[in-house]
Symmetry: D2
Subunit: 301 residues, 4 copies
């Protein structure tokens, strides 16, 4: 264990923090930074070395993981004035686990290549809980010959590490999955609401759907109707889980990539709009399964 | 077996014909009718008695199954001048397996009740193949105390017979399932198309979705992309399966019930419109998974 | 004036009441009825004769106007146990100004024809204000040779009386107009909201749209953004005007006729769903231009 | 006339070519360039000076107009290795008439400001015909004190020059107008198609809409139904006019700006998807009013 070399980590938010901890737990010395100094305290106490900016991380570690909120943050962390690429060492492996536009991943990869480094995109599925327990799924895009090295690190933080193809395909897989997830969730919510209005018992309807061709993850694993399943946000007033605002962000990425590649995504696009309307009407921080509540008649109507 | 009493059957189309055969195979004497005399030949040769109209069926059998294309046909077969209710015997059990508006099922049940008969709605899922092999799923609505009697007959034709609640809930369950199915199929098609455009291998993308929260019946059992799965219509130029026109009809029913109950179904409604546009553009008789082809860029563009 | 013969009137709600008053003002003796006796008081005081039910109206008048909330009411008023057709005289002219499904208008016309009477559909555009001032527009469907007789009466209540074609086309024209109106209103609201977010002054944006190809009635006559125009509901907290619930009803009719005729109406269908969602979220009785408010970010978000 | 100083022009495509000609006709010496040398021939013969690249244009002229297909072209022409900003003179006025993302306009303005130059966005409405006859409408964003100088040049090429506000608002106005236009056109097409199916004469329906609240530019000025109006693309097999592909591009810009500003645009988004589907199905180069044909049942169905 002692011989493990340092791993850099940039971005210690809700997701990055537990991910970095898991690297520490697996015996990797971690050198980290974040724009908010307080975010660094917890892992500093666990033994991580904290530095001022991404360039300094790159100066000291040749394997770096980044976990950031959106495309502009990624661009800044890699190519900004104190960015990783200012001091990156030749042969470094740079793994970005942010969920961003695949076109930006490709740009970062090209910029890294000019400096002799390798960039891979490795967005995750699974939330804060999965990050804490090391059960994330990583979808990895980049040069296939680097996948083994990436998998060694990512396996400390995730249960599944899937190779998807060239740079950007990790993002593509993530975005595609979440678009279909949103469609399935809204569709399940509409369907359950309609069935209830037509006199069906919600648990029975869920059972029928789940043994038939209407079955999907949102109907059989994460049902949006309170009382149908236990241990899901619909049973807890839509707290916890995956926020509507985050889903709207991912659907915005799906929309942008679809627009840029001239691909028609009619349901994906409408799903985006519905989550956008929900954000405007006070649902931003509720779990995305609260679309059932949004579509349902308000009491007193 | 000799002691089994006659069962009436009205409607010997693509679905009704194999269903009636299965009743014969299970030893039930069948007395049947259809507006097209030729449709009766096959089961006549197998020993069924053919009569002129539904009223005559009702005159001779006190358990009757109907399998018709749409609401107006059902209204006519039950309440028309030569309809079942003209000669129905008190205590008769009338089971309608057509897929129609649940409001019409309720009207028929009320009309039957006035004559001292019991009406149940029992639409099916599964196509001609399942009808032939006796593997249909029946979703049954009506008085619970009659369910056992209905199940005895329906079990000859189906592998699953599910009690859904009061009259009309069988239709409601069918309609709800197919609405969510359509949403899942279009969603899967959009997602697979977008992923392919972004450089993902279709088989790999399907595998990732199926192990993630995007998973649904259309992605893991009936994938719409040619080459991803075997034994599904997408592998056979979208022939066979469940026609786009039939899906559009079911979505029209879903739309009508949603409008009548003032339930918002934004994705279900858009799915309806997309299948309607496909019908207008030459896809009416192709399997409903051909929406993948419809959304995809034509060659030469 | 004294020689004018009686005109029957069934349905004295918000619209029917001022319409019947205008007939009285033009010197027509009116014989009327309504399911709510209180609704009859006002015109009774103005000299109208009140009777118990539609059949009695038909017993005493051979020209009758009906103004009712929805299709089932129309069916009941014409063909119910105390309906007009129970006592209608041969040669009577029956004019229905309700907004209903054109298929129901056709059924009523066929039923009237069997009794030797003539039925025309003549739905209106314009609200309570136009009804009071006699400025409604009537869209009339039915036998062309009866149009002159119908126009004589309708002109007392409206400024425009337009002949549309065979029975049901009056409804068709009304439904088509309101579907396009809803699309234009939501489109204008989205556009104005987007423009404001992009830094445009709302009055200036409205001016640019109105001199360009984006121009529509909702942008130049009934702008949904508070402060852009005077004398419209957007300037009065969306009170008055044409309620969201009523628009949702008309869009439901449009949806039903589109479904029945297998016509794709993707934007009309989504407009219906949006107004349906608004009804579920507390906007039912606000003017339909409040969709601007619904789409806009809530304060404090 | 002789005293007029040179005006630079970059981008001599279908639109830029007639625009540059109008500058020449108004007596302005023009110095121009285009990536395709052949595009320059016509105006060279009319007396324009042709140079190799945008930097050389900037070297010789301090008022420059650019007219380019999309955002990346604009970025390249301004900030590329041979871009305008390489040799721009202090105090130069740079006017971009391309239709692009307003965020890119803002970036270009900031880059120009660093070099001491002024950048304005001035996209046009009106097609090749309006460009030839000098009847374009310019929507101008940028510093108000420069508007008079910009208007002097733009008036040579357009009939209306409208000041919209800060940099980017010209684009915003253009994008907003075209989004509402697309919604109105699809809405009009759905409505006309539905009305025709319900038995209405198309000319009569158009007349009724145009005197009612359904009225919009697409119904009264550019009706999409063949035979309703003369002199519009619907009367000429949808040739000429504004191509579906170009509309899809503008709707993509609207979608991107809406996504970036988190603004819900449900109908605008669906309109985008419909034009995208049309491009995939062979309508790319037809006028955008051909959506009527796309929604209509194919013959033989």
């Amino acid at each position: 264990m002692a011989s493990k070399t340092q791993v850099g980590f940039v971005g210690l938010g809700n997701m990055g923090n537990p991910m970095a901890k898991n690297l520490l737990k697996h015996g990797y010395p971690v050198i980290a930074t974040d724009v908010f100094p307080e975010s660094c305290k917890e892992i500093q106490e666990m033994g991580a070395q904290i530095v001022d900016n991404p360039a300094e991380v790159a100066d000291k570690a040749d394997r770096i993981i980044t976990m950031l909120p959106s495309s502009p943050n990624v661009v800044d962390v890699y190519t900004g004035p104190n960015g990783i690429l200012k001091k990156v060492k030749k042969g470094s492996l740079l793994i970005d686990s942010s969920t961003i536009d695949p076109a930006v991943s490709k740009e970062m990869a090209a910029a890294a290549e000019k400096m002799g480094a390798v960039f891979m995109d490795a967005p995750v599925s699974g939330g804060v809980g999965a990050a804490s327990s090391g059960k994330l799924t990583f979808m990895v895009g980049g040069a296939e010959e680097e996948f083994t090295a990436a998998k060694e690190l990512l396996s400390c933080m995730g249960a599944n590490v899937v190779y998807c193809g060239q740079v950007g395909t990790g993002q593509a897989a993530k975005i595609c999955n979440n678009m279909l997830l949103a469609i399935g969730m809204i569709g399940t919510s509409e369907t359950m609401n309609l069935g209830i209005r037509l006199g069906l018992d919600p648990k029975l309807l869920a059972k029928i759907l789940n043994m038939s061709s209407g079955r999907c993850w949102s109907s059989d694993t994460y049902n949006p109707v309170p009382g149908v399943m236990e241990g899901v946000p619909s049973g807890n007033n839509y707290q916890g889980g995956f926020g509507t605002q985050l889903m709207a962000k991912d659907l915005g990425l799906a929309q942008n990539t679809a627009t840029n590649t001239k691909t028609p995504v009619p349901l994906g696009s409408l799903a985006h709009q519905i989550y956008r309307m929900m954000c405007a009407r006070g649902y931003a921080s509720k779990d995305f399964s609260s679309v059932f509540q949004f579509l349902r008649e308000e009491e007193g109507q």
